[in-house]
């Protein structure tokens, strides 16, 4: 199952995706860069940004990618990266995207993820592949 993800310069989500045995596509760091087009089903992994000035929870690059209908139509589910210390905001971006796109939040993990998190996500993605085959 293709994994599309955004990772900020902190690279936390990128490090997690490297532990997955599934193909992945990283969204550009810079919002002005062209967003990719995908032509197969995918799972999105997104961290949550803090609500600062001019900034919502969902990374702008994720919004830009999902604003392309052909991309959005292929989203199967969302995985959230976050930190429970942010209280109600824990994985907020994943929940917002899931609600907007009408797909489930498949999994959540914190920071780089525990080893078990990568195992669980690998298994979950395997099963999604089987289910959609």
């Amino acid at each position: 199952m293709l994994v599309v993800y955004y990772s900020s310069p902190s690279e936390f989500t990128h490090r997690f995706v490297q532990k997955l045995q599934h193909p992945s596509l990283r969204l550009p760091l810079v919002t002005k860069d062209p967003t990719p087009l995908v032509d197969e089903p995918f799972v999105l992994i997104t961290p949550t940004f803090g609500a600062g000035i001019n900034r919502g929870s969902v990374p702008k690059q994720v919004i830009k990618f999902l604003n392309v209908k052909d991309n959005r139509d292929r989203i199967v589910g969302v995985i959230g990266a976050g930190n429970t210390n942010f209280g109600e905001d824990y994985c907020r971006a994943a929940h917002i995207v899931a609600g907007k796109c009408g797909v489930p939040v498949l999994y959540r993990f914190e920071l780089l993820g525990m080893p078990e998190d990568a195992d669980n996500v690998n298994k979950g993605l395997d099963q999604l592949c089987l289910a959609s085959a």
Partner: protein, 324 residues
Amino acid sequence: MTETKQTVSPIDPINWNRIQDDVDAEVWDRLTANFWLPEKVPLSNDVQSWSSLTEPEKLLTMRVFTGLTLLDTIQGTVGAVSLIPDALTPHEEAVYTNIAFMESVHAKSYSSIFSTLASTKEIDEAFRWSAENQNLQKKAQVIVEHYEGDNPHKRKIASVILESFLFYSGFYLPMHWSSRARLTNTADLIRLIIRDESVHGYYIGYKYQRGLDGADQALKDELKDFTYSMLFDLYENEVQYTHDLYDEVGLAEDAKKFLHYNANKALMNMGYEPMFPKDVTDVNPAILAALSPNADENHDFFSGSGSSYVIGKAEATEDDDWDF
């Protein structure tokens, strides 16, 4: 120890229209958006709840908060300030000044809690206990030693360990009270502090990693070993401190799981893999729910299949750039 990074000249004016590292601006925005003062939290609503605690529970609570006051004082007046000369960008310096100020707000918040709930005599006794508790004093000394040392990387390591790990033996208690519907306004205030400390730990950990960009592997390896060993030393001390505090009310084992869980997060903030396995980081779900109200929802790929998540009032109005 070679230090090749160019630090900031103190005589150049800061230009926020020319940002070298976007993370500086993002974290500045986040921290300023999070700004709060203890006067905004209605602590006096906890007076009745406080009076329902037993004497050992009150004593424990006072001691926990004086310990947290000590850490915030160190971080505000020594720790965050000590990071400024090592900054790689002027905006990083500015973020540290914000962090230093908020730590002083946190330190003052505990005094607001004390003066609302306790008598002068109880307050003085709790401060005396903290001044005499060897484990609390040891953690303060270990951290300050590195803040005052000559290694900029170790200063950041010490700082992340403080921000993301050493506070949590204390933060456990207000989350515990909150899960029992006790001292809930105090818990609201502590959650604001936890949110701030989490941004601080993330940011300083990020800057630690940027500081090692381009460093040779030998230095990276040395610092990684140093980090794990410092964390482990402080962990052992923290376990004793946790027993000093919580044994009398029987919460030490529950609190220790919270320590393991947060020690892992401190490591991850520095880009390192967690050291405590899942079977000792299984934090009590009630504590986790007190920390993050939706943290105990089950999202394991197939449990909720078919039903998509419904967004409640929490949807941020800023997330409005959608075409659909």
